[in-house]
Every structure is written in C-alpha cells, then in structure tokens.
Amino acid sequence: MTSTEKTKDIFATEYSESCIASPPPLFSDVVRKGLEDIIVILVGPNKVQYHVHGSFLVYHSGFFRNAFNGNWRESEDGITLLDVETVVFNIFVNWLYTMKLPGPNNYDWTTQPDPRIMGEAHKADMLQIKLYVFADRFMIPALRLAMNRIITADTTYTRPCANVMIFAFDNLRAEDVILQFLVDSHCLKWRHGLQSEHETRLLDQLSQDCLTKIMKRFGFMLAEGITRHSSLKMCDYHEHISDVERLACCK
C-alpha cells in the first residue's frame, strides 16, 4: 500500500459522518451477502444475542464502522454492549431495518417488547431519552435526529420527570441541546407544591449542572417576562444547520 492510498483511507474515516449522504445499502444486496454480513451483538448484563446485518450497522453508525473496520478484537469476536438495555436495543434494531420508530402515542412506546427485563416498566419519555442517548453515544446521526424531533415534537409535553432529567444529565454532554430543552420545559411547567412525594425525593438527586441550568433559566424567564402561558420555540432545540432548514421546519 502506498502512502497515497493510506491518506485516502484516513480521510475516509475522519470524515465518515459526512459519508452518510451516500444512499443506504439495499436489502437485496445485504441479504445476498449471507452469514458473512451477520454480526453477533451481546446486549445487556444477560448478554442477549442479536444477529444483525453489519452493512446496516456500519452504514448508520460511526461506532460500529470503526469497531469492525479496524484491526480490533471485535472484528473477530463480535461485540458486547453490557451497559445497553435490550428494550432500547430492540427499538434501535427495528429502526435499523424499517427506518421507523414507535408511533406518536405514549402507548406505542410502553408496549414495546420486554420492557420489564430490566426490572421496571418504562415510561415513554424515559425510553425516548434513552434512545437519544444511545444514538448520541454510538454515533448514529439519523437516529439521533429522529429522536430529537420526537422528544421536542410533543406539544402536550408536561414537566419532564425528575428521573428523566437525572438520566439525561448523567449521559449527555453538558452542551447537548436536549438538556436545555428538558430544563426549559421543566421551568415553564413547574407548579409549586404539585409534586408527588416520590418525585420530590428524586428532585433532590438532580445534579449540580442541572440545578445551575434551572436557576439560570428561571432568572432568564423573570427578566424576559416568560410565564407558564408562554410556549417554547421548538426550532431552538432542533440544531438546524441552516436558516433555510429552520424556516422550512417552522412551517
């Protein structure tokens, strides 16, 4: 291999995210590859086995692309994701093959297969935020974008549950726009004295980052005269890459 080719390879990896623009692999092509293309992924502490087509994984996810393309252990042994819940991975796999997420109703999310394997029944909002974190962590831009829209699209959004906020602040970088969205809706919908005991206990566990953000937001609302009757501009959380896209979205 000459160094020219090497340089090209490196460019390809470095700017892999921009390569998403190329069309996704065709099912007809993928299924012809047979077992070679199948990757075994062990998910969760129980190491539930998933047999997934590598072509789709590699196409959508920077993480899986790197894991299987480099000379790593994974390219021989497959991959183990101990700290991923099967209920989240299920939704991801369904999305991966169908490009569809559960419907707009909470019901659609809470009836996903085996939500109880991890012990507690998931509420829709918690599941959604977990999927968002999953997409962010494993570099799946299309899924991350789709989840962003689902989370911010819920106009009847009530105040986010404290456990959702705790999870989000624990698993997203401080600058992630979804954190700001959670804080903003929290502050807008906050009703003094309307919290359950359980919720109040959870609120005590909010991280310092979270509290700081809430404090700043209340200050901002006071200054700008924002009241509970106001509403949020959802496009503020959409990470639009251009004004054109933003305008199109606002319609």
Binding site: T2, S3, N66, E120, F167
Partner: protein, 816 residues
Amino acid sequence: MPIHQGLHGDEVDFENIWGAIASAFREIHTKNASRLSYEELYRFAYRIVLKKKGEDLYLRVRQFEHEWLSNEVRGSIQALFSPNVLASPQSLGGTTTNERRVAGEKFMKGLKQAWGDHQVCMSMLADVLMYMDRVYCQDNRRPSIYTAAMMLFRDDILKTPTSDVEGRLVLDLLTHVILDQIQMERGGDVIDKHLIKSCVYMLEGLHEDDQESEELRLYTASFEVEYLETSRVFYRQEAELLLRESDAGGYCKHARRRIYEEEERCKSTLLEATSAKIQKVVEDELIKNRIHELVEMESGVRFMIDNERLEELNLIYDLNTRVDDKKTELTRAIQKRIVDMGTDANNAAIAASQAPATTADAGEKGKSPAQEKNINMQTVAAIRWVEDVLHLKDKFEKIWRDSFQSDNLLQTALTRSFADFINSPTFPRSSEYISLFIDENMKKGIKGKTEMEIDSVLEKAIVLLRYIQDKDLFERYYKKHLCRRLLMNKSISNEVEKQMISKMKIELGNNFTLKLEAMFKDMTISEELTSGFKHHVDGLGEKDPKRIELTINVLTSMTWPLETMGGTGDEEGKRPKCNFPTAIDKIKRGFEKYYNQKHSGRQLTWLANMGSADIKAVFPRVPSKDGSFKERRHDLNVSTYGMVILLLFNDLPAGQHLTFEEIQAQTNIPHSDLIRNLQSLAVAPKTRILIKEPMTKDVKPSDRFSFNEGFNGKFVKIKVGVVSSGNKVESDRERRETEKKNDDSRAFCIEAAIVRIMKQRKELPHQQLVLETLSQLATQFKPEVNMIKKRIESLIEREYLERIDGASLDSYRYLA
C-alpha cells in the same frame, strides 16, 4: 435505580482510565492491537468526555504522541543519518554517486516507514477518540486529534535538527536528498521514483503552520521553492555548456527533451501542481534567456534554413512559441535571412547585367553583336532573378508550412520580407524582370506544357506581382512586352495571354487591365480589317498574280506603347515618312481609302519600322562557292525597311552599286534603323543578301552596297533578323526614360487623386491630404511625398486649389 449503577456518578477515575487507554495506545504503536477491544476503549474515552474531561484527554493524547515520537521514532530516524546521506554532491569527500543514492534511499525509506506507521496508528487512535473529536474538538475548535498528531510529526521529527555539524533540520535533509536524487536522474541514473513520491505526499500532507493554510503546505513552502531554485541554477549552467558544445539543432532537441522530462517527473516523482512552475524555469533558462544566442549560433536558424533542416526549424519554432507568442527572435532571423538571400539574388542580377558592359568595352572589334549578346545575357539574368525569387519563395513556403505549422504571424513576416527586398530602393528592376519572365514564358517557356503546369507558371508570376509596390511601372513594362509579342506574333497561345490578363484582373482590379484588354481588342479588329480588305481587293476584279498581300494592324495610339517599338522614342512625332516603292505605295493608298470608307475622320499613321515582309527572291545562275551552277529561289522574311531597301536593288542593273547615302536619300529611312537593317542584310554571315564594300562589320556612310548574286542559303525560307527586335532588359538609358515616363504618368495620377479627394472634402490640412493621397494610390504605386507636394503646388498655380490663409495647419481649399 439499579440500571444506572456503574454509569452514574460524576466522579470518573480519570487517571486509572487514562492509564488503560495509554497502555492500549502503546500496543497500537507496537502493532499489537488485534487483542484490544474497540468497544472498551471507545467507552473509556466517551465516559471521560461526557464527564467534561475532554480537554484533559486531548492534551494527554497529544503529550503521549509527542513523547512517543521524540523517544521512539526520532531515534530510528537519527540512525539513518549516515555520512553518505549528509554528504552533498558538491563536497565529493570520498562518496560516490551510487553510495549517496543508496544512503539517500535508505533514509527516505526509513522516513516513509515512520510516517506510514504514524498515519496508521493515528487513524486507529482517532477511531477510538471519535467521540472526543466530535464533541470536544468541534465545540472548542481544536484540530482533530489526527491532524494534531500529524503536526506533531512535523515538529518532533521533520523539524528537529540532524546530527551533522551544520545542524540542518531533517526536513532540509529530506529536501536535499530528494533534490540530489533528481539530479542523479537528470544525469541519467535510475532512481526510486515511487519512494520519492511517498515522501512528497508526506510533505504535501503537512503544513507549515497550524492553520493548515493551502499555500503553506510543506511541499510548496519548503521543498518546491528549493527545487525550482536548484533547477534554475542547473539549467542555467546546462544552457551555457550546451551552447558552447552543441549545435543549435542538438540544443533544441535537448531543450525539448528536458521540458518533457520535467513534465514526466512531476507526474511520476513529484506533484502535477509543480508542472507549470518547473516548465517556466526550464523555458526561462533554456529558451527565453538563450533564444537570441541560439538563433544567432553558427548552426542556428540561418544554418537550418540553408540546409533545409525542417525538423530543427520546427523545434526552434516550438521552443520560441513556448516563451514568446510573437516569436520575435525567430521572426527576426527568418526575415533577415529572406532579405539577405533576396538581396543576394538582386545583387547577382545586377552583377550579371553589369558584367557585359565591361566585356563590350574590352571587345573592340565586334561591338554590335557583343552588345546584342550582352542584352541577351541581361535578359537571362532577369529571368534567372525571377526564378531565384520564386525558388526562395518556394523554399520559405515549405519551411513555413512544414516547420512553422502555417503560423499566421510568420506568414505576415515572410510576405513583408519578400516585399522588402523585391521593392528595395537599391534594386529598381523587379517590375521589369517579372514582366520579362512572363514574356519569356509566353514566347517559349510554356511550349509543350500541360494546362496545369501553365497555370502554375502564371500563378507564380501573380505571386511575385503581389509583392510589387509600383504596380504602374509593372504595367508599363507589361504593356511594352505584350505589344511586341502581339505585333510580332511571338505569343505561343493567345488563350494563355488572356488567362494571364484575367488573373491580373482578379489580383489587381479592372483598372489595371483595361488598356491591356484594349490591345487585344485592337488585334481582333485588325484581323477583321485584314480579311475585309482582302475580300475588298478580290472584289475589284482582275486577279493580279503579282499582287502584294497586306496584313495590317491598326493600333489605337493611346493604348499602345509604340515609342518603345523602334527603340527611338525621342524621334517620335518627327518621324520622317519612309518612301515606299511604288507597288507598295499603291496598296497602301488602297487600304487607306478602304479604311476611310469604314471609319471616316480617322488618321492612319504608317509605322514602317514595325512591320515585316515576305519576299520571294530569285538569285541568278552564277558560279557559287560550292561549285553549283543553278538558279536559287528563297523566301526571305525581312523587316519592312529591309524590304524597301532590297526593292531598290530590283531596279538596279547587275553589277551596279548604291552607297549608303544614296540608299538613305531614296528611302528616307531613319539613320539608325538603316544601319541596323543594312547590318542584317550585308554583314550577318547567313543573311548576306547584299555585298558591302569595304567588307567591315561597321556600316559607314561611305560604304557601297550591291546585290549578292552568289548568295547561297541552306534553307528555302530565310529569316533576316534585325538587331534588337526581341523583348530584352532595358539599357540604363532606356530605363531612365521609362522611369521618367512613369513619373510623368504618376504625376497625372497623383493630381487626379488629389482633385478627387479635394472635390469631396472641400478643405483639408496638408498632412491629411498627403496621407489620403498615399492610401488612394497604394494599390498602384507608392508616390514620393515630394512629388505629391509638387503636384499640389502645380494645382494651386492652375487654380484648382488655394491655400487657406491663417489656418493653424497648412491647409488647402478646393476651387470649383
């Protein structure tokens, strides 16, 4: 919440995790990555970044790489600095080229290896640190870790000093080695282009600064500059050497090869982006700065032209075009050569036309024949000149087509140069010569040629005509020559004559050929008159067996240059009437009567000096030299004057004689014509029909003439030629006359042009009037400004124009 266990908590044990990452990185660098879990490393880095330790991680990785490069890689590179690498070709301290090449290759291989390893490892590291790159580097506008690591390679490897005394940087050493290798290749060695190209790509991939600005790639900023500079020096020296040791053709071939080589080198060894720049260097040094010397070399353009080195000329054309759109140097050299060769042809013609004058003076005894011969030689010289010029034209045409790719600019230059020497003020004869060339071909040259060949001859004449500036002078000569051809029936083909006229018409326009065509018309009418008259005489009744047949040419006096025919132009107007013998006079009067019936009011002037006659002569039985004793009959073709003279002897009793003066008194033939005719009849050995006493070559007034009864010709038909009857080069005196006449008619043309212009413009400043006059006459001739001035003066005198008083510029007004 159990699910969050292990993920939850702000505290990340950074040091522990970094320790794990760092040891994995070490494995990667030592090519032991296959047992590492990507998922695990990625998760470590992801967690660190999530917990706001992105910057720490970034700096640690950079530090790690810095140390790795400094401690592990640099050492292996340093190990490659053998003395042979550090040696420069100038300090040939015991190293051979081969040793230097091998050492250089080893050094480059090592560097290439280190660079390649670094790239591979860093791309793996970058994969692991992908989340950091996306989150931390993007949010904080840091270069990606991969890029940062490449910069480290630049700083920690390439920009560190080598161990040699001068303390050169590794980068400089690399440049030096590559340049050295390229120099070896220029010298004919085979080098590892692939290896060099790898190093070049490395330099191309790195930047001088941390902003990654395009123009500051190491290749451009560091290597290329050096490369161009050393190449410049090299080619400058090479040009000098080659100019000294090689001929121009070899130089051109070499230069072209070098240009090609450099182009190839950019493709195979360096970068194509350098191609244009190095081309410029080579072109500057090998061509632009040397083209003058090259063209002027002994084996330069002149030599190539003279020896028909078409390929070399093409090379030099190609080279000159590369550096100069106008091809100034080549054009200049070509033009000079044309003018030189043209001038040679001119001089040869002048020499040939002057040489006889001296021999004529030397050869006292036979002045007339010698002179005749001289004039013939001059004619030959004239035709020779035309052929020389045509040959020259063909030669350069061929060079232009084959070597100069039919370049437009050069065509213009060629045309200008031909016009230059053809119209050179030191050579006033071109018009006459070209006309003579046509004359010669009309009379002899085209005999037995196909239509195509004839056409090409005519075309050649037209080509030359194009160059002629003084078209009026040419017209004058052409008319004169044509006149002789027509009247003396010298033309081989009337058709071809007419073709020539129509070609001139296309080339020079209607006006030019108007009078020439009128001459042809006169000839046609004359034919009709002749046959008409013959018919008329036949109708008169009784047939006289002794009747004289008359062929007549009636010429319009303004159309024909009649004065040139007799060669005695100054006697025009007062030409004495020749006394014709009665028989002739009778038929002459008969025709005059016939003609007056057809065209009343026209006056016929008989030009006895231009006609000819066929006479049947009977020589009596007298013993002749060869001992035969019988009557001999000859058909004599003589000039009209000759006939008049001979007829005198018809009436003379045998044995009697006539003196020169008696002949002159009886015939009234002009003195010079008489001498010439008597020379043909009594001196020329083959046509000695009269006997002259005393028997000398010159004719003196006191000479006596008698009929040569013993004349014995070999043929029945005998043509008695008269001296100076063909179209020949003019003598200097004749030329002066012709030019004077030409100037007179020019004066008329100029006046006409001035009046035309002024009539239209009413008022004009002097300068503009002169310019417009020049441009109006450009197709005919180029008048001297002085002559124009004189014509203006004359027009003012005759009150066609007046000066405008008080005008700021000298101006004139037209007076209606």
